[in-house]
Amino acid sequence: MPAARIMNSETARYLASRLVTTVLIVFGAMLLLFTLTTLVPGDPAATLLGPQATPELARRFVHDMGLDQPLHVRLWRFFAAVLAGNLGVDIISGRSVVSIIAAVMPYTLILTFSAIGLAVATGLPLGIYAATHRGSVMDNVLAFVSVAFIAVPSFVIAIFLLLIFAIWLGWLPVLGTSRSGAFLDEFKRMILPTVALAAGWIGFIARLVRASMLEVMGEPYIRTARAYGLSERIVTYKYALKNACIPTLAILGLGIGRLLGGAVLVEIVFARPGIGRLLYDAIAERNYPVVQGTVLVTVILFVLVNLLVDLSYSAIDPRIRREAISSAKAA
């Protein structure tokens, strides 16, 4: 069988198994979530309806939300509705949960990918520099700065950035969104939240790339490449960096997943809408349809991003491709 066809069938099998895993993960996450909603203290009717609610209204509210049903019935109804493309209705505004998530999702995606993009664009060269100048003053300075960035929470960085760039220098705005819709204005408002979120990841990626690079630079094939007389630039960037990037890619997958729902503090500091903040508010309000919908979307995105990362390994590393083909042949 030609290698390409073996590869394709193996990829298809791999994708299928990952798809099954994805479904299981989503199901497990939702099962956990539904179980938690029955355990967590706090009456959604009291929280949302407030003092004006009559007991009859509170009972109807609980019934409308399906909270008077057993766990398995609620779970079954939820997945049946999801398969029909329906995530339910926000019990506060009466709007569909899909439309609410769709409204905030672009803010989250833009912030997540710009932060990760900035982290890679900055952390990668810093990590390479530190690895190629091991033990130098700059390497030590970068180590110190990287650890500091990792250790300081993003919302603390956010507040300092605001004080420096929005208040003292007056270069950038405080609020993370505007109602003008103008590209330049929105771009300016993106800078500080992006930097605040990216800072920790810059340090993390720089350290990781440095460690991976140092490990890879000691590999026999790098020595062989040098022995062939290849320039240090080609050895570093063409042969060492590619393999050193694999652990970084794995971390990036997790990072994107974390930022999708975990940028809540930065979103609060910059008064910026986002999926993390939506989830946070919905939990505080016991607005279960929004909680369920948001968690479902976040879990799916998380799993998909990590699936893409896994697939990208084989594109980068031919050994992984070959392993896939050998295992397919053996099967």
Binding site: T54, L57, R179
Partner: protein, 519 residues
């Protein structure tokens, strides 16, 4: 001199120039702080979620709803006193009937036509009288005693009650539940009316973005006087620190902050900081059904051991006025001679000894906010001096607000509570009647005398007699020793000096349409 640039240098240079160009125009990034302007941005600390008068969530929603819709009567600027709004005439023809006549030519926005008495009937009855099989309005209680609304002409009608009601005008006709909606628009837009309201008021909603902002634009077809600002953007900013910075940078023009949050802004040029007494009320409550707290002497001992002024100093930097009874001074029926309890450790210890209570361990439930946390720590220290060990239980909103519900409420010991008020004594008193035990009466205090006084006051149309009934009710609360009144809080208003904001006293009900700019 020849310039030798390679491709990388050109790209790097272009990127750097672009970045500098983006951020370096200096203060161009900031909004204009000088004024007056035709548009302003105000901050709210809770997201606006539902602009349907029947289903609104908080005062922030209500403030927008009142400016988008007209009512038969509305509050005068910076006052709780009512004046005619959509109505040319409103007359109480008997204790249970109110006749009204609308001004002709009041047009709903978005082409939904002229306001008629049918719209008034629809708007009031959809809240007060849920049609069979349809969902009961959250704010049904605002229209309690409503029997029906009769339409007697295109612009005329009659509100008919099942029994007299003293606060009909303050709570229903003149407030959010009295907003007149377009029947046609509600039927056509369905659930969308919650975010795309149709009214005939001074402003209309032109943008509603969850977690971000609501933008109001002056209603060009408004029949009456036009509001001062062409546009008001209402920004949701939950974090007080971000609010502080946005006020400094000029991105927002007005916000209400806590005393400690507003203090640093006093020195900022161009900002005015004004404390406004609130009509919210905060107290430390005791569960009368729980163990040793069933004994009146234990409750009296706790009241004597606490020092309200010390607690307020910790919670509000000493900037919030002390409250000695349920109703603050702005409300009809305020008990001005209410006792002002002073801390007396010796008497408190004696009361505990008489009650045979020793080594008491109590839990103090609070909402996880700094003001309550600080007050709770002071209370713990003060009560420790009379031998009561207090465990402070700080909970987030969802858990906290459910703690007094049903049988769960039986487990409470002590708690710090804050309720929002309205300019009506019965509205404020309602949470302490016996029927509210297991709901909002967390003290589980049952007093048939209080319940009777509450009902009498609710239907007493004579103001003086009503005020006396309300004072008597507060005396009963004092006698129970289940309440240690703390403060009716203070709202500190921070705004550009050229803005003249407006609100019903207490600064819970903002009047966007009466905001003005100084010349």
């Amino acid at each position: 001199m020849p310039i030798d640039l390679n491709r990388r240098q050109v790209l790097a240079g272009t990127a750097a120039t672009g970045l500098v160009g983006t951020v370096a125009p200096g203060r161009g990034a900031q909004a204009q702080t000088s004024g007056p302007r035709t548009s302003i941005t105000v901050r709210v600390d809770r997201d606006l979620t539902n602009l349907d008068p029947a289903e609104r969530i908080g005062p922030g929603d209500g403030n927008v709803i009142r400016t988008v819709h007209q009512r038969l009567m509305k509050q005068k600027a910076n006052s709780a006193e009512l004046e005619l709004d959509a109505a040319a005439e409103v007359t109480q023809t008997s204790p249970t009937t109110v006749d009204f006549r609308l001004k002709p030519g009041q047009m709903f926005t978005d082409g939904f036509g002229e306001m008629t008495a049918e719209d008034v009937k629809f708007s009031f009855e959809r809240i007060g009288l849920a049609p069979a099989g349809s969902k009961e309005a959250t704010y049904k209680g605002d229209w309690v005693n409503l029997e029906r609304v009769e339409v007697t002409g295109p612009y005329a009608g009659r509100i008919i009650l099942s029994k007299p009601r003293a606060n009909l005008f303050d709570i229903a006709i003149g407030d959010v539940s009295g907003c007149i909606m377009s029947k046609k628009a509600v039927e056509q837009r369905g659930a969308e009316i919650a975010t795309k309201p149709v009214g005939s008021g001074p402003y209309q909603v032109v943008s509603f973005e969850r977690q971000s902002s609501v933008v109001l634009k002056r209603n060009a077809n408004l029949a009456g006087p036009k509001p001062a600002f062409e546009e008001i953007a209402i920004r949701f900013i939950s974090d007080p620190r971000t609010t502080d910075l946005a006020l400094r940078s000029g991105e927002i023009d007005l916000a209400v902050l806590s005393p400690s949050g507003a203090e640093p802004l006093r020195s900022v040029a161009g900002l005015t900081v004004t404390p406004e007494p609130s009509i919210a009320y905060v107290w430390l409550g005791m569960n009368l059904e729980k163990g040793p707290l069933q004994d009146l002497r234990v409750r009296q001992a706790i009241r004597l051991a606490l020092d309200t002024d010390q607690m307020l100093a910790a919670g509000y930097n000493g900037k919030a006025p002390r409250l000695n009874t349920l109703l603050p001074p702005q409300i009809l029926g305020h008990w001005k001679d209410a006792p002002v309890y002073k801390r007396n450790v010796a008497d408190a210890k004696k009361l505990l000894a008489d009650a045979g209570a020793s080594n008491l361990k109590l839990k103090l439930l609070i909402l996880n906010q700094p003001a309550y946390q600080n007050m709770a720590l002071v209370a713990r220290a003060l009560l420790a001096e009379i031998g009561i060990t207090v465990d402070v239980d700080s909970q987030e909103g969802g858990t906290f607000w459910s703690s007094g519900k049903g049988d769960t409420g039986k487990n409470l010991d002590l708690f710090l509570l804050r309720f929002s008020g309205k300019h009506d004594p019965n509205f404020i008193m309602q949470w302490f009647v016996s029927d509210q035990v297991g709901n909002w009466n967390w003290q589980r205090w049952k007093s048939p005398e209080y319940d009777a006084l509450f009902l009498q006051a609710a239907s007493e149309l004579d103001k003086e007699k009503r005020a006396q009934l309300v004072v008597e009710a507060q005396k009963l609360m004092d006698k129970s020793s289940a309440f240690v009144w703390l403060t009716n809080e203070v709202n500190v208003l921070v705004h550009r000096a050229w803005i003249r904001p407006a609100a019903v006293p207490g600064w819970i009900d903002w009047q966007y349409d009466s905001f003005a700019a100084s010349a």
